[in-house]
Point group: C2
Chain length 427, copies 2
């Protein structure tokens, strides 16, 4: 019999308990012995739970789990940085293997955690940390291991994808769609980590580390969220044949890694443009396999519970057969993410300008002087003296674009730079 301790009985924790219960016979066959829950750490012993659980399994003392010699595997589902990180380290030091869905801790401290695990001859599994139930961590470690991964494009945050889909389909503004997402349980009360892009940044940090075999530093990843996306941009995008998605991007080149999270124009006939609602998607390109795309629900009790429980099964099976999955991350190189200033991209730009002759010439001259070449211009007629002016640039270095925008801002006939959104034509 293998015994697990679970830290946290929130959404995902309850899902894991349900799956272990429902599929117990099946899991026993796969592991070769029974897997039972020894203890579950909760904040409040008296709180009502949406999952049936024996009272004596609950504890509010973490020592009952991380210092418990009966427990082989600690399943960390508290989330956030502390105390989760400390608990993981202490559990490893006590010889316990770890299963976690904590993207923040793995993205920020993966290197230390994996090294600590190696020293203590235990395993750390984290399939649930990225894209919920979608199998991606192990495929990168195993089935795609023969490839040099060249690029990854991901829709890795269900909350923002739901909001952008809702804005686009219902023609709502951001605040309304966020409220709607919160009402439906697709966004948290404090949605900042999702809508500001940090959640996706942790996830692309994890994927790019595995794919490129470098410990990518999450602090070097450029992050921009969706809260400035205007319904007008979504409609203009649609007119021009694009959909706006929050993309997590990771590319490998001889100059370094290009890893970033930001809203982007995606051509509407690209498969990524069709990933709607709370679905996640990983679209990658390997030198041998070519394009691979996978999609599934990216969050929620059962999808993430599925990934976490799969890790529990794998670790339990290994322990039961006196094995230990070897990750071999010792050859991973250090982070070498290129600064966003140096990245080249095509851009969508929306200005509000005065309806006066010469404004286009003034803007065009500044672009020309700063190596910004234009792919298309769209001028919308309005019945007032403020006119929206929309440009799509050819590929341009961000530094050059920003220099020109700083100058354009100072023009008398330019009222405001409303939107600057990257255009990803070559996914």
């Amino acid at each position: 019999m293998l015994r697990i301790g679970i830290l946290g009985l929130g959404t995902v924790g309850s899902g894991v308990v349900k799956i272990l219960e429902k599929n117990s016979e099946n899991i026993k066959n796969k592991v070769g012995t029974e897997v039972t829950i020894e203890k579950i750490l909760v904040n409040n012993l008296k709180k009502e739970r949406d999952v049936e659980i024996k009272k004596e399994l609950l504890t509010d003392k973490v020592e009952d789990i991380i210092n418990n010699s009966n427990i082989d595997i600690v399943v960390e589902l508290i989330g956030g940085e502390q105390p989760a990180y400390d608990y993981i380290i202490k559990a490893i030091e006590n010889g316990k293997s770890i299963v976690t869905a904590n993207k923040l801790v793995i993205a920020k401290y993966g290197k230390r955690i994996f090294r600590k695990a190696d020293e203590n001859d235990v395993q750390v599994c984290y399939e649930g940390s990225v894209a919920g139930g979608l199998p991606i961590i192990r495929p990168l470690q195993n089935s795609l291991a023969a490839n040099r991964i060249e690029k990854i494009y991901g829709i890795l945050n269900g909350t923002t994808n739901y909001i952008l889909t809702d804005m686009s389909k219902e023609k709502k503004d951001f605040a309304d769609s966020l409220k709607n997402a919160q009402a439906l349980g697709f966004a948290e009360a404090d949605p900042s980590s999702d809508i500001e892009g940090y959640d996706a940044a942790y996830k692309i940090t994890i994927l790019s580390s595995l794919a490129f075999e470098r410990f990518v530093d999450v602090n070097e990843v450029y992050v921009e969220g969706i809260k400035d996306i205007d319904i007008e941009d979504i409609e203009l995008a649609h007119e021009m044949g694009y959909v706006i998605k929050l993309l997590a991007i990771a590319k490998n080149s001889s100059e370094g890694l290009d890893v970033r999270v930001h809203p982007a124009f995606v051509p509407e006939d690209h498969p990524l443009a069709m990933i709607n609602g709370t679905y996640n998607c990983v679209y990658l390109h390997g030198d041998a396999v070519g394009q691979v795309m996978s999609t599934a629900r990216g969050a929620g009790q059962m999808p993430t519970g599925s990934a976490v429980t799969a890790d529990i099964i794998q670790v339990a099976k290994d322990i039961n057969h006196n094995q230990r999955e070897v990750q071999r991350m010792d050859s991973f190189l250090e982070s070498n993410v290129i600064k966003i200033d140096e990245i080249e991209n095509s851009f969508y730009l929306r200005f509000e300008v005065k309806d006066e002759p010469g404004v286009m010439a003034h803007i065009a001259k500044i672009f020309g002087d700063n190596n910004v070449s234009l792919a298309s211009v769209l001028q919308k007629q309005k019945e007032n003296p403020v006119v929206p002016l929309v440009f799509i640039t050819h590929s341009v270095r961000e530094k050059d674009l920003n220099q020109s925008l700083a100058k354009i801002k100072k023009l008398d006939d330019v009222i405001e730079i409303k939107s600057v959104i990257r255009v990803e034509n070559n996914i």
Copy 2:
């Protein structure tokens, strides 16, 4: 150093050699030691190869590999039933782990091969046997292991998907599209295994065995190919909002397994309808994860080479660390595939009838008498006395449908039953 022997230097074998060469440093890091090719079995030692290879590595004697005590892993890429099966068994008996892309051998003899491998304490890996570079075998074994898989829908044969896509887009008939596929190297000179559906049947046998933990008997899998698909059916499907795909289907229910391969109407807004050309796709539903869909190129030198080389890396890593991946197939149950007669489906039916009053009433009466209920009828006007009459039925047991079709065939005013194609509305 780990040494491998490769049986067969055709398309996939050459791909594996190229990947092992190109990504050797990377592979060494992953395995923890160098992986080198010791010997390659070929039919003709003098044949020109599209891959650079030292002459002394080639042999035309299989014993140089399967009896070679230097070799740890035998990579079987001959394909077909014999001698591939015998070579695999002998190599296992000699203590060698096996990597293979041979769907026929795994589908037909998997049970014996896995048992033999267990007895000899070696591994058998076969990621390359299904859907080329698309990771699906290991995800079913690992990342999705916590789920009860409820159903799988696959587009698992690139040749037939290319032909159906070409027929549909270019309005060509089957024979022309097949010739085109052969000219482009997407169909073999003898394309029978692909176009008759057997290739897909081997693959869905492998997937359903893993997903449902039963040794599915390939002989119990209903198989129907695409060579009777008429351009008229493709166009009528389009008119009614469907696309015709060769689907491999596997469903689990309390009555048994429903496993089959046949052309089917797929709603045109379903993601499977959008998988075109030589791409493969696996669309599955698990009780915890919900829907997961993955797509990638399903065949070819590099995609399949990617999967095979990934297996080589995994087995080599395990051997190098004195481990052995445990498959635990000992608890797999026996095959219990339901006979196709008992399966219920919606059907598209196209008749050619005489343009006479009463024909519709005659047909409708027979359907009514045999529990076949109709969802829609389409009668096309033509300027000759032969009229096409098209029905879509509600869900009906195949036995009942076939009984009614046998009676309809005998009607004087029915000239011919042109097409009978299943309609999959609830994927």
